[in-house]
Symmetry: C2
Subunit: 77 residues, 2 copies
């Protein structure tokens, strides 16, 4: 059994309004050192069989929208 | 400038309905090896000053709901 982690983030060129809201909220709370916040999705996939190539395929078919998002696959620890 | 990553996940005891939906969708697409999927949030924080202790504080105050979520902080690469 292996557990892959997929991190899906908006492409840098796109405005991340949720991230902007969190950034502003952190400033209101006094965290002045924060320069930028980006929000993404974390998908943890537990697999009985199949490997990284399959996870890559899942990203392309379902997990990420290639028009606006990029993804990163972390191998099982 | 350092860039921290915060991974926020639902506690394991809680039903993750979004994860369940993705799990079912992956099965429909033919990925039979998938046993479980959990969805979480990824927060990338770019900081001009302040370190891990501050990020920890942000998690407690804003980024995670301690009743239902756990978080993990990844140090800047």
């Amino acid at each position: 059994m292996s557990r892959y982690r997929v991190l899906v983030t908006l492409k840098p060129a796109l405005l991340d309004s949720a991230g902007r809201a969190v950034n502003d909220a952190l400033h209101s709370l006094g965290f002045a050192g924060v320069k930028d916040v980006r929000i993404g999705k974390l998908v943890e996939i537990e697999m009985a069989e199949g490997g990284r190539a399959q996870v890559e395929e899942m990203c392309k078919k379902l997990l990420a929208n290639p028009v606006i998002e990029t993804y990163e696959i972390e191998d099982p620890a």
